[in-house]
């Protein structure tokens, strides 16, 4: 994995150079690292600190403040189910059970193949169409157990096609 690690460092370098050394660039840098690598590891924190001069403690503080940033490796697709009141009343618990059963993991975990992570989120503004969830940046409302299975299948299928070069829908 030596070459892999090196590629990661180059990628990190590029992100840092893109945003510059100013302290105000800390959040954009962290967001981009998080999106690219799926998480922000201690090596990245040290490099960001070295580059921007912001102490590692403060960087850790920022990462723990924003729930979309994380130190733990997340899956390629992060599923965030809304746990706020409208979605809760509309049957969030049923959706929880389906998601956990379909993916074989609990909330807060990531599937072994690194594809899916399950998390809760607070209100995402889909109260008109509950229960709702986000998969990465895309929102899905009016969830039923059947619809959840369909959505998950479409993601699994597109990944399968990607892997074996079918082209397939994105």
């Amino acid at each position: 994995m030596a070459t892999g690690t090196r590629a990661v460092t180059n990628e990190l370098q590029e992100i840092l150079l893109k945003y510059g050394k100013d302290r105000t660039q800390l959040l954009p840098i962290l967001v981009e690292i998080n999106n690219y690598f799926g998480h922000i590891d201690s090596n990245s924190i040290i490099e960001v600190s070295r580059y921007t001069g912001v102490p590692i403690g403060e960087i850790h503080g920022v990462i723990t403040f924003y729930s979309f940033l994380g130190q733990k490796k997340r899956g390629k697709f992060v599923i965030r189910l809304c746990r706020t009141i409208s979605c809760d009343i509309a049957g969030k618990e049923q959706i929880v059970r389906v998601l956990e059963k379909e993916l074989g993991i609990r909330f807060g975990e990531t599937t072994e193949d690194g594809m899916f992570s399950l998390e809760y989120t607070n209100c995402i503004g889909m109260c008109n169409n509950p229960p709702a969830m986000l998969i990465n940046d895309k929102a899905y409302g009016g969830l039923t157990p059947e619809r959840v299975v369909e959505i998950l299948d479409s993601f699994k299928l597109s990944e399968y096609q990607d892997m074996f070069g079918y082209g397939g829908v994105k």
């Binding site: 040290i46 600190s49 590692i56 403690g57 403060e58």
Partner: protein
């Protein structure tokens, strides 16, 4: 001239400058608004909501500390709504606080306890925290008890803004917020420099020093042990505050009497060791200058930094390890004294150094870390056994039932009890520099420094960074190489100011020969072990006490101290000599600031 704005607070009308906060305006009007997260040394935070007031025309209550006045306003500080809100906020803070007051070191000086008393809190209106949730984190110097933390972030603002050490951080958000060390590592593993400024500013007992009182009582009560205490000038100028004296009252002689009654076998003056430091450090400076200016030796580094402040030493080890060669190799006065006591003095009076316990009364929390450094045992024993802070000593004196105010005036023991005024002013920022200038100038030229009354005014004061120049003219024959040389010196206090200076040095924007840095704002008199509270006014008062004591002394130059000269004649030989090197000088450890490396 800035614009004046009329303000009406309760039934008082006054005019304030634009941008004044409501809190400041209330103070001008003679009204007291309770505060908790506010501190005169720190940036405004507006977190605790204890200082809320009603502003006419605004729907919500406003935090007085964070409301700058920009237009004429009417404020009510004591309406039923304000009182109710403050009480609810206080009750909510109390419900999160593990308030085990009997066993708390801040019992009686806790700001939260005081507020609860002021607001007549007679019961918990919300569930109270009855069992501690967090483990107590201890280093040799600092103890961190998150159970007592009320998230006012004074320590964070101290560590990150005031001192720019950044050993502490705010983790998580909202209700889950935690004030912790970076990455929640033990405090001994992070970049903490043990300056203890966070302790001085913590309103509760969440941060405190590691008290050695029980062990020390044990040593005092042991008839086999010969327990010696050395007292630094700053605690003497501040300990009175713990006994009802006004800030700025020096109680040196009363303290001597109290310490003898407490059971110390000898009471010595750290100023003596400060004079010794000047002899060694002054000689080291001249040696370095000669090597650089005359021999062109590039392995010798200038500017030379002072090394008396253990907080600063650890700061440079963490943040500027590449500059460690610039740090004077001299130990601090505390450590020099310990090494001399356990060698020269032990032999002179015939006491086995093994049975000797050396205690240092210091204004400083980092001194505890310093005396526990593994390299600090050149006497063959641990040079200094305990570093005791001013606050901890006050506790011991009270525990022994001694009334400091009623003590007679007593002198220090001799030899090693005579200190000059130059050693005394080590306690204030700029003091080491002034003491060094007084001696070095006279050693080089044979004349006293060209300042009225020996007061080197340019290096005094409370500005963060000060610099001065001194041109050497007509030196003595052996210092002819310094003729016409202008020595450039600088003084910084508080590590944030030190950082500004270091960054400029690094960028090549400044050039100096000698730099004094003290880790704490105001120098030692504002140290982390000093009485709580602290503020710019209190520190200025302590500085006045120290400088006026210097003026009352006849002996005001380190190199004229007869007991120092006796020590060199009988034992050490000469400054920077073989024995000095062994006992009085040390080396440093590069530590770096990324403690995650190697994980």
């Amino acid at each position: 001239m800035s614009e004046k704005i009329p303000v009406q607070i309760d039934d008082i009308t006054c005019e304030v400058e634009r941008g004044t906060t409501i809190l400041q305006a209330c103070k001008c009007a003679g009204l007291r608004v309770p505060t908790l997260c506010h501190h005169p040394d720190l940036e405004v935070a507006g977190i605790c909501r204890i200082c809320v007031v009603e502003v006419e025309g605004m729907s919500g209550l406003q935090a007085a500390c964070a409301y700058p006045i920009r237009q004429p306003i009417k404020v009510r500080t004591n309406s039923p709504r304000v009182r109710r809100a403050r009480r609810v906020n206080l009750d909510l803070i109390l419900s999160e606080h593990y308030g085990d007051c009997y066993t708390c070191v801040r019992n009686g000086t806790c700001e939260l306890q005081e507020l609860a008393r002021e607001y007549g809190v007679d019961r918990y209106r919300y569930p109270s925290t009855t069992t501690p949730k967090f483990k107590i984190d201890r280093s040799t110097a600092i103890v961190r008890d998150q159970n007592k933390c009320i998230s006012c972030k004074r320590c964070i603002r101290t560590c990150i803004d005031l001192q720019q050490v950044s050993a502490l951080e705010t983790a998580n958000r909202g209700h889950n917020v935690l004030i912790q060390t970076a990455f929640d590592k033990p405090i001994s593993d992070v970049v903490c420099i043990n300056c203890g400024q966070c302790i001085n500013r913590c309103p509760t007992g969440a941060l405190r020093s590691n008290m050695p009182n029980e062990l020390l009582w044990h040593a005092i009560d042991d008839p086999e042990k010969h327990v010696i205490i050395q007292t630094a000038p700053s605690p003497r100028a501040a300990i009175g505050e713990e006994f009802g004296y006004e800030p700025g009252t020096s109680v040196t002689k009363k303290l001597n009497a109290a310490l003898r009654r407490l059971g110390f076998d000898n009471v010595f003056d750290t100023n003596f060791a400060a004079d010794l430091t000047i002899m060694e450090e002054g000689t080291e400076l001249l040696t370095r200058l000669k090597k650089v200016l005359v021999d062109g030796d590039s392995s010798v580094k200038v500017p030379m930094f002072t090394s008396c402040s253990p907080g600063w030493v650890k700061y440079i080890e963490h943040y500027y390890p590449e500059y460690l060669d610039h740090l004077s190799s001299c130990k601090s006065p505390q450590q020099m004294f310990g090494a001399i006591l356990k060698t020269y003095y032990a032999k002179k009076v015939g006491i086995d150094p093994e049975k000797m316990v050396v205690v240092a009364l210091m204004p400083c929390v980092a001194k505890k870390f310093e005396c526990n450094r593994p390299e600090m045992s050149d006497s063959g024993h641990k040079d200094v056994d305990f570093g005791l802070t001013t606050r901890e000593m006050a506790v011991m004196i009270k525990e022994a039932g001694i009334h400091l105010k009623d003590m007679p005036d007593e002198d220090f023991d001799h030899p090693l009890g005579l200190g000059s005024g130059a050693g005394l002013i080590f306690g204030a920022t700029g003091g080491v520099m002034e003491a060094a200038i007084r001696s070095v100038y006279e050693i080089v030229t044979g004349r006293p420094v060209p300042f009225k009354g020996l007061d080197v005014m340019p290096v005094r004061g409370m500005e963060g960074i000060r610099d001065a120049t001194l041109t050497i003219e007509n030196p003595l024959p052996e210092y002819q190489w310094l003729d016409g040389v202008t020595l450039k010196v600088a003084v910084a206090h508080g590590t944030a100011n030190a950082r500004i200076l270091m960054e400029k040095l690094k960028a090549g924007k400044l050039a100096y020969h000698f730099i004094e840095v003290m880790a704490c704002p105001g120098g030692c008199l504002g140290g982390g072990g000093q009485p709580i509270p602290t503020s710019p006014e209190i520190r200025a008062a302590r500085a006045r006490a120290i400088y006026s004591e210097d003026h009352q002394l006849v002996l005001r130059k380190s190199h004229e101290n007869p007991e120092i000269n006796q020590l060199y004649a009988e034992f050490l030989g000469e400054p920077l000599g073989h024995l000095s090197h062994k006992l009085l000088h040390t080396h440093y450890t590069p530590r770096g600031r990324f403690f995650l490396e190697g994980l």
